[in-house]
């Protein structure tokens, strides 16, 4: 690896660090990096930063907010000319939610998503994020935001959200 490439890597890493502090507007305990929304960070030869963002759901109202808060965070760090690029393919999957993201969701009271490949088949038991019981039932495949389904725990009686698997 040449010295130039190492410099570029360090700059990209700095941008990744910045993006790890940009919260999801609807679930602010997780960042856009935790959710797998940031697909790449590239620093071009002319020094301009390019960030690839993918929408989670086609109609997610948070997409526009994520775009503007990402642009603002980059501008505040001196990357006012950063270019945000929409990435559609491959489509976002809940499998891209990082291990750290899953842990944060669970701590916040949202059951993290199961592997998407299982979502089409028999649903795996979803653990209650409050008491850990597997005696839970799905109330609705749809919840308070496009990315969540609605569950109830039979053990502790509490309703909770699950991050949908797609």
């Amino acid at each position: 690896m040449s010295a130039a490439e190492r410099v570029v890597d360090a700059r990209e890493e700095r941008v990744w660090q910045l993006l790890r502090a940009v919260p999801d507007p609807e679930i602010p305990v997780v960042s856009i990096v935790d959710l797998g929304i940031v697909r790449y960070v590239r620093v071009a030869a002319d020094g301009r930063v390019h960030v690839g963002l993918t929408p989670t759901y086609s109609g997610c109202p948070a997409t526009a907010v994520i775009r503007s808060s990402t642009q603002a965070a980059l501008a505040a760090a001196g990357y006012g000319d950063a270019q945000l690029e929409e990435v559609l393919a491959p489509p976002w999957t809940s499998d891209w939610v990082t291990a750290q993201g899953r842990a944060k969701l669970a701590a916040f009271g949202i059951a993290p998503p199961a592997p998407a490949a299982e979502a089409q088949g028999a649903a795996r038991a979803v653990g209650c994020p409050r008491c850990g019981s597997l005696a839970t039932e799905r109330i609705s495949e749809f919840g308070s935001t496009p990315c969540k389904a609605h569950y109830r725990c039979s053990a502790c009686g509490e309703p909770f959200d699950q991050f949908k698997c797609i």
Binding site: G59, A89, P90
Partner: protein, 264 residues
Amino acid sequence: MSAGVAGVARRERSLEQALCRYVLRLGDTSLVLGQRLGEWIGHAPALEEDLGLANLSLDLIGQARLLLSYAGELEGRGRDEDALAFLRDAPEFLNLTLAEQPNGDFADTIVRQWLIDAWQLEIYEGLAGSTDSRLAAIAAKALKETRYHYRFSSNWLIRLGDGTEESRRRAQRALDSLWRFTAELFAPDEVDERMATAGIAPPLAAAAGRFAARIAADLGAATLTAPGSHAYPWHGKRGVHTEHLGHLLGEMQHLQRTYPGARW
């Protein structure tokens, strides 16, 4: 030589225009159905279904935005997604006639949704392998959402059909009244044929067979009877609509028509 080059350029331009119409049809179908579902917000039979229908609506409008943006670029006249959604009149809309049919009761909404979900499953699955990479990317994304839309609508169809006497009667009535609009779903015209020949869209004949098998299996589980064939000559995808679309657009476009250029 130069005449040959001009001929090739003309054919490419006309293929692009056909693609534009094709993408408009997909986008308009999603937009109009999304708008219809939005009318249920605050009125659905239960809170969970209210959220479910709103969620489907949001996905469909999101898909419409991606498709209409692309159609606007293909058209090359500077119209963006908003101009296409809010500033066209009914004859310029190319959605399937089925999508614009009124919500009726919950059974009407579910049957309409189930038919279009099953249609979109076939179309998006085919488009995910399109030679047009932009359309392939939109379709691959939309397909994931359509799968759970179909799960929602087909589960409800079965619950209503194989439910109480009243729910079964209403589901069958909805099926009988909406069935006439299904002939349009897989009847190819010259745009569909050009798209299939270019490898952009799936051939409708093969998709029609899979659709029919899926519909028959669901109807069996729902203990409902497929009506005899009585196709109506509606061609929403050619801009010939039922009177319902104008009313829908009247509401959807009200703000932009009253305050042209208004922005958030």
